[in-house]
């Protein structure tokens, strides 16, 4: 009875909100026990094995090592002498499915550009799994996972979704099991341009004011819900926008912030401190090289292009050494595409950055540079414990390249996802053809 005073009940116990109402239905496809041997292997975290062996079974990497690595009996043996093996590439910035091909108005589902703050929208609800771009990214790019972000028209663009790059009838059939959600935020020119004549914000200061005001609401919402979940009582009203922001404040949803300029990134970092969340990554980060030290100190990744610049004022100061300079400062450097064509050549984009970095004195190995394509992206998506490098027990997301993957003359030869062979250049039957492409000119052609 004495405890009554401290556990005063205000009403019924709290109702648990379903955090995963659109769950992944992805299951790995069957793959034979496979041993790839004789290749140069990059493990994705910086190690390289000459004449290496990679063993895949039960959907996971069983072993990675040199030629002495034991091969299980009955394994399918892939003789990869003269070839390269890497973890699958992960693109942290894609709009495939949301801005699919063909890019008609009817397919244009990437920006909910109807109010500057729309954290309530989820990119996954726009994803069209029949976008032919997915198969191009697989066959030409060796991309095994990718994050689909809503566009950058809005200060709060909505939730992202991480997909495995497997063909499926539904978005859920591609959804990466257990990957955390992301929140797309934006600063700079895009929100200004889109909302300047629609009631604002029309300036960068307007951008920040609206962003801060939105977070203040989120903090209030979080307080209300935290109290309810602890004490029960009358359920506060649900707000989908605030649900997402509360997820960020709780550290469950990762912030991916579209932001180009160094000075603006610094402001967004301070804003995140003010409001009590962490910026997991800056996307596009064209001026990251100017504040590489600040990014490293805050543990914020920079997702960057190798050579895009100048198409708008906030991209005017792009330099080709951006990626290596971020890396050199101890930061988390990522090569990203934001483009259905660029996603097919991320290995080559990394090759450019690697070469420019070396000429500027940042001497890293090829094997190390692969971190920019798989391990660092996985880290920024919160899935590095599952994929992103060839470590025993991780998902067997693997690319066999027919040469050095940093060469323009090299192509993916085979791609495994969770140990299942999803692409084989030598087998036309292992080349996905989306529903849209069936019966169209060029159906099933090499693309």
């Amino acid at each position: 009875m004495g405890g009554c005073a401290t556990t005063k009940k205000e009403g019924p116990p709290p109702i648990r909100i379903n955090q995963d109402p659109y769950p992944s239905t992805y299951h790995r496809y069957s793959g034979a026990v496979t041993a790839i041997r004789g290749a140069t292997v990059f493990d994705g975290e910086g190690a390289q094995f000459e004449n290496g062996t990679v063993v895949l079974a039960d959907g996971v990497v069983q072993a990675v090592g040199d030629a002495s690595t034991p091969i299980p009996e009955g394994a399918v043996i892939v003789d990869a002498a003269g070839k390269w093996v890497t973890p699958g590439i992960i693109d942290v910035h894609s709009h495939l499915g949301d801005y699919p091909s063909p890019g008609t108005d009817g397919n244009d589902d990437g920006n909910e550009a109807t109010a500057p703050a729309r954290p309530d929208v989820w990119a996954e609800h726009s994803v069209w799994p029949q976008d032919p771009g997915f198969a191009r990214a697989l066959a030409n790019g060796g991309v095994t996972s990718l994050q689909i972000l809503p566009g950058s028209a809005n200060l709060f663009g909505g939730r992202s979704v991480v997909l495995k790059n497997v063909p499926a009838r539904t978005m859920q059939g591609m959804k990466f099991p257990g990957a955390p959600y992301g929140l797309k935020m934006a600063c700079g020119e895009n929100p200004k341009r889109v909302y300047g004549n629609k009631g604002g914000p029309a300036t960068r200061m307007g951008n920040i004011a609206t962003t801060r005001a939105t977070w203040l609401k989120a903090q209030e919402y979080k307080r209300k819900w935290d109290r309810y979940e602890k004490n029960g009582g009358e359920m506060p009203s649900r707000d989908l926008a605030m649900d997402t922001l509360r997820g960020v404040l709780n550290g469950e949803i990762l912030v991916h912030n579209h932001c180009y300029r160094a000075d603006e990134m610094a402001i967004m970092i301070d804003l995140s401190h003010e409001m009590g969340y962490k910026i997991t990554s800056f996307q596009h980060a064209v001026e990251a090289y100017k504040i590489a030290d600040l990014l490293a100190a805050n543990g914020t990744c920079a997702a960057m292009w190798a050579d895009w610049w100048g198409f708008k004022m906030e991209s005017y100061d792009g330099i080709k050494e951006n990626i290596p300079f971020v890396d050199r400062a101890g930061g988390c450097a990522i090569v990203h595409s934001d483009d259905p064509n660029g996603i097919q050549r991320l290995n080559q984009e990394a090759a450019k950055a690697l070469a420019d970095g070396r000429r500027a004195g940042h001497n890293v190995t090829d094997a190390y540079a692969w971190r920019w394509l798989s391990y660092n992206p996985a880290k920024s998506l919160g899935i590095a414990d599952k994929t992103g490098s060839l470590k025993t027990g991780k998902m067997a997301d693997v690319v066999l390249w027919n040469g050095n993957p940093f060469s323009t003359y090299t192509r993916p030869e085979r791609v495994w996802i969770d140990g299942a062979l999803m692409y084989d250049a030598n087998n036309p039957r292992l080349r996905p053809v989306s529903d849209f492409e069936l019966g169209q000119p060029g159906e099933g052609d090499v693309k």
């Binding site: 030409n140 100017k290 590489a292 198409f311 330099i319 192509r411």
Partner: protein
């Protein structure tokens, strides 16, 4: 003040090397750009701004500056087969910096892009530093299907960028053309036919230019478009759609004295262009884009119409590109089409340097069953001599053949590999600076430690 001093420094830096030298580049792997395989241990001689010889056993003129290129590669400069270089600095929300289109001008075909080409634009230095030495520059369309008259430019660090003004008229067919013409392809063809008939009417009164190529004349002193309006009788019918200047500008197109560069992607549009050439036999079309070209490659080859294609478009990005494949260029070549690489609607303002990446990717296709790639020599030709040939400049630019412009690049390695970089660039025999805003920013932010003064004092 800062801007002034920056410009002054730039001029000072480029003042010294602006004369054509006699140069012999020896010992490098020499690739002529004409489709042949590279020649190890070759020599390239540049004299009087032109190629004096390239290959093995080339005599070195007395007094030539000798540059040891052992371990390096030597090629002609890269030719951007299609671009908007030098006419647009920043595309988005920076109106004053762009001249590539005139949405609200009453004029279309009459527009001449040459005066818009600003050799000081940062896009040029960035591409020059990556070995691009010439570029086809096309205007974008504005109020109708005609964009105006495009040019060939050089990327030299001087104030004289135009190699050939008014080399071609640019026109959009296909989806964009349909939109500009009023909403459908029939509207495009009606507008096009009407325009050429207006030009025909006007051409009867045109002053004879004695057959001399009009593109050679100085547009400022005597504009041939305008001089065509000074005939004895320039009255026109009342039923006209084009301004007088626009109709006059189409006279050389109709007479085949100026190329007609047509953007098309779909097979159906390509075939329609071939039919138009039968209707107007005097026109000299060049097709650009041509994503579905491989599906009608035989017809294109038979028509003799040359093509500047986007290299690696492989997405059904629109309904006119459903058959897109990276094998397009290789298959067209195999069918005998005169094809070069350009970057139409693909970062055509500032990423022309990526042509060598794309050309190399076509080599890579050679190992993919079912795909059509090209040889290494052909890949280099696709971005050097082939675009030159397509625009009627074969032998004059884009190769190391004797007599061609002295546009030469020394690369640290295979020029089609991204690890390779330019080590020296000549344009018209003039050694070029390889500095750009980008390299200066890179140098400024090489170190981030706080020093006595802010970064702004670091140059």
């Amino acid at each position: 003040m800062k801007r002034l001093s920056f410009l002054a420094a730039l001029l000072a830096a480029s003042a010294a090397p602006l004369a054509a030298q006699t140069v012999a580049i020896t010992g490098g792997t020499v690739a002529l750009g004409d489709g042949s395989e590279p020649i190890p241990g070759g020599t390239v001689v540049i004299r009087d701004g032109k190629i004096a010889g390239a290959g093995l056993n080339i005599a070195i003129p007395r007094g030539a500056e000798i540059i040891d290129a052992r371990g390096k590669w030597v090629t002609p400069g890269i030719v951007a087969g299609f671009s908007r270089l030098g006419i647009s600095e920043v595309d988005l929300s920076a109106d004053g910096s762009t001249d590539d289109r005139a949405q609200n001008s009453p004029f279309s075909a009459a527009l001449d892009i040459a005066p818009a080409i600003n050799p000081m634009q940062t896009t040029i230095a960035v591409n020059r530093a990556d070995g691009v030495t010439r570029a086809v520059v096309a205007p974008n369309i504005g109020r109708n299907i005609f964009g105006g008259q495009g040019a060939l430019m050089d990327l030299g660090a001087d104030r004289d960028p135009v190699t050939r003004a008014r080399l071609f008229q640019f026109v959009e067919f296909g989806e964009r053309g349909a939109g500009a013409a009023g909403g459908s392809r029939p509207a495009t063809y009606a507008m096009f036919r009407n325009a050429l008939r207006e030009a025909r009417e006007l051409s009867r009164f045109a002053v004879s230019r004695g057959g001399r190529a009009e593109t050679q004349e100085d547009p400022v002193v005597r504009d041939p478009n305008e001089s065509r309006l000074i005939g004895p009788n320039v009255n026109r019918s009342e039923d006209i759609m084009l301004t007088r200047f626009d109709a006059a500008a189409l006279v050389p197109v109709l007479q085949g004295r100026q190329y007609l560069m047509i953007h098309v992607e779909a097979a159906n549009d390509i075939l329609n262009v071939i039919k138009l050439k039968r209707e107007f036999p005097t026109i000299r079309p060049i097709m650009v884009g041509v994503t579905e070209g491989w599906t009608v490659a035989g017809e294109i080859a038979a028509s003799g119409i040359p093509v500047i294609a986007s290299a690696v478009n492989d997405l059904p990005a629109s309904f006119e590109m459903l058959a897109a494949t990276q094998s397009n260029v290789g298959r067209m070549r195999d069918a005998g089409v005169n094809v070069a690489i350009g970057m139409i609607d693909d970062n055509d303002t500032r990423y022309l340097f990526n042509q060598r990446q794309y050309a190399a990717n076509l080599v890579a296709l050679g190992k993919v069953p079912g795909a059509a790639g090209v040889s290494w020599g052909e890949a280099l030709a696709l971005i050097t001599s082939r675009p030159a040939q397509v625009i009627g400049m074969g032998g004059k630019i884009g190769s190391l053949n004797t007599g061609a412009a002295g546009d030469v690049v020394i690369w640290s390695g295979d020029p089609l590999e991204l690890a390779s970089a330019t080590e020296a660039v000549w344009i018209d025999g003039v050694r070029q600076p390889l500095e750009s805003r980008q390299t200066k920013l890179r140098d400024r932010y090489q170190r981030l430690d706080r020093s006595a003064l802010p970064e702004a004092y670091r140059r």
